[in-house]
Point group: C2
Chain length 461, copies 2
């Protein structure tokens, strides 16, 4: 536990207003967006300069105090839940400056606490484009996006956060500065430590600055909504679009349960009788957009879409996309507990995976609403339940177990974009190997010899 | 040194025909493409199955024998030169199967010894595209491309090897199997060890299999050659094209010295009086190609190109591009020693970097021919000299020193795509930090506790 003297030291270092120790404050940082038990930390620190961040890390290390770094706390696998009651939560929200947006060289330099959507908007103002758009972008931070390798709706065509990280500066566990990567398109100077920091969930270092790649924005785009009266047809259409070599920037799926519940709430005018809908957007050069949209419509019809609707204007498109973005919050209102999963399969396996999810839900008699990034094989089957009902929750856990087994059998993965945290670590070895776990543990022990950095996450330490 | 008994063990394991110990054989694997002293290894092993590879690594580890993995040996920074006289060179050339090319899910699975150009051709046959095209692609291997994060002519638009590595299986130093990444577009299951293996130069693990991303091929392309009578104008045009938000798939630069020497040799009909030429190719949807080519021509004219030439057919285009590919081999014929560098700067700094390279060459009275991937800031100033002339070689080394200082000052990097190896390790700390070197050494020591994997490369051990 942090002593009064140490708390005083931190107050001197970063200002009294940036050290939080009241019960109410500590409660606020005891949980994140995962369905896991909260852990109340010992103190919360909010450094506001890079130098302060480094000195905080050094002081925590010297005093043997565990650290959990936290951006907006939107983590869905428990990555931002403190490890122990003596943990210090280190907030990055005070490090929120966009340091450079370079239009000539197509990159930006940011601090970790910059909010994703704010950054994307600042970039758009300069007529450039930062594609990664995780569902939580309105509040999530770039540092958190890097630590989790956040995905989003555009992963299919534009990739994920990993594909935009050119370089990073971070503090190692002891507070030493490490620099890796560059402002250049090509850089092989030393280990690709930026690649190693991506999705390391705050266990290998504490990010202080990132260099992010930007791209010219697409000149045109076209949105479509396809309605299906059979879910398998929708799934086949997804596979068909990719096989036709069209890479839409968005290719989203909502099942009937999700459609009805979202429409109840948003009154977006969704087709409530549909077994499934696909929301599709193609972008690029205007001529390519026209060709791609035509190819997509052809595939949709071949796969028995009962209707293909083109939003008449930006407002209508926004309403439809907003309905998709509301899927999780709306489903989350239905029952006391929402378990949002992100098992991911190769795109051609979407039909098999969709079938399996519904069979598993029926077998274990659990309610599931499925939506997600169908175009990149990244579905979000969302289990609606009440954790206080032990018998029901056991069935949910069994269903999730079987769903992961299915994903792995279909050559997929446990987690497309939500991370391992503590929620999924028990399944890691099944997908990888014993050697992978041991290798990963050796790696982290070497870089964090006192085991202070988010130590219970991922493969443990 | 490997005992006779151990050599017999290896012969039993992988076949007598795959264990090389004759003087002539050992000589052949004592050097690579870098200007560095050869080191004759103790033996050379050529496993032909994944299982054999793992057993070789385990046996070498158990016997404390250093290992240097080698594909085609095209390394330009000494990464494939054996560390010591008791080193075993492990060849990947016997592991050269393309295991899967998946058209529906846009990925391939390959063994490390597959030759880059063979792979690209197999992919093209299925109407797909694998963009990374390092200069040595006709002989280089995918395993080597991963270990070095190989770049090439298309880096500007399509990225480098890193951007195509979805997953990898490798043996750690002890011979245990590690699996990371997936056949899915999104995967955050565990550490991004594939990202860590990229450009690790054979020091963290020995790759046995890789999952590579494929993309739909561009539907059209257009090539242009621009001629300049002032090198700075050419450099300004490069920066201008990117600033106009056009991303050509190729944007190559040749200076007068390179033009004349290549034309002498190839009779390609290059403009021998030009101060510099740019070779440019734009690709994509036919309408976008037309728009981009028009924008490029406009920028070229604004920057005083004295001629813009469009090859009349594929044969003429091939001849020009082949001339570019011949730049290095032709320059290498001119003097006994060729030192090919790859200092890289943000693209807008190309004019400043070009100016500095020529000023430095004049200052130290050394001959330099410069060509390279101007579009991604990755130039290849090539120093022509005779290493046996100690005085001259000292001037070359001083010039290179100053060139790196300039690259770093311009926010660039030591190495865009050739790697650190032993050739550039002394400059690493200047670009990064002491903390970066120590962090990297801790990392590798943990993963290679006996220090057997290419131990003198990168940051040492």
């Amino acid at each position: 536990m942090a002593s009064q003297a140490l708390i005083k030291d931190f107050e001197d270092l970063i200002g009294k207003e940036n050290v939080f120790t009241s019960d109410a404050d500590l409660q606020s940082y005891s949980f994140d967006s995962a369905v896991l038990e909260p852990v109340i930390p010992a103190l919360v620190l909010r450094p506001t300069t890079t130098e302060q961040l480094g000195l905080c890390v050094k002081k925590l290390y010297d005093n043997g105090i565990p650290m959990t770094v936290r951006g907006a706390g939107t983590n869905l696998s428990g990555g931002t839940i403190p490890d122990h009651s003596d943990t210090a939560v280190v907030l990055t929200t005070g490090l929120n400056r966009i340091l450079e947006i370079n239009s000539n060289d197509l990159y930006a330099v940011v601090e970790p606490g910059v909010i994703t959507a704010d950054f994307a908007a600042a970039v758009a103002k300069k007529n450039l484009f930062y594609p990664p758009d995780p569902g939580s972008q309105a509040v999530s931070t770039i540092g958190g996006n890097i630590a989790e390798n956040a995905g989003g709706l555009r992963g299919l065509k534009y990739g994920v956060t990993k594909d935009y990280l050119m370089g990073v500066e971070f503090f190692d566990a002891t507070g030493e500065t490490v620099k890796t990567g560059s402002r250049t398109v090509k850089c092989v100077t030393g280990y690709n430590l930026a690649g190693m920091l991506i999705q390391s969930e705050g266990t290998l270092g504490i990010i202080s600055q990132a260099i992010l790649k930007l791209v010219p924005p697409p000149k045109a785009s076209k949105a479509l909504m396809a309605v299906f009266d059979d879910m398998q047809n929708a799934a086949e259409a997804v596979a068909g679009i990719i096989a036709a070599h069209v890479l839409p920037c968005t290719l989203e799926f909502l099942d009937n349960n999700t459609i009805v519940r979202v429409d109840d709430f948003t009154k977006a005018g969704l087709p409530r009788d549909a077994a499934a809908i696909l929301l599709i957007e193609v972008d690029g050069h205007p001529a390519q957009v026209a060709d791609d949209a035509e190819a997509v419509e052809r595939v949709l019809k071949e796969n028995k879409a009962v209707a293909v609707h083109v939003p008449k204007d930006a407002a209508e498109k926004f309403k439809l996309w907003e309905a998709r973005r509301m899927a999780l919050p709306v489903l989350a209102r239905c029952r006391p507990t929402t378990v949002l999963e992100d098992a991911t399969v190769p795109r051609s396996q979407i039909p098999a995976m969709m079938k399996a999810v519904n069979e598993i839900a029926a077998k274990y008699k659990v309610e599931v609403g499925t939506f997600g990034h169908a175009g990149d094989g990244n579905l979000h089957p969302t289990f609606l339940c009440d954790k206080r009902d032990a018998e029901e929750f056991k069935r949910v856990e069994a269903a999730i177990d079987e769903m992961f087994d299915t994903a792995i059998k279909l050559q997929g993965t446990l987690s497309g974009e939500h991370g391992i945290g503590t929620a999924k670590s028990k399944w890691m070895e099944k997908e990888t190997s014993r050697g992978t776990i041991l290798f990963s543990q050796r790696l982290r022990r070497a870089l964090d010899p006192k085991g202070l950095l988010n130590s219970t996450k991922l493969v443990g330490i």
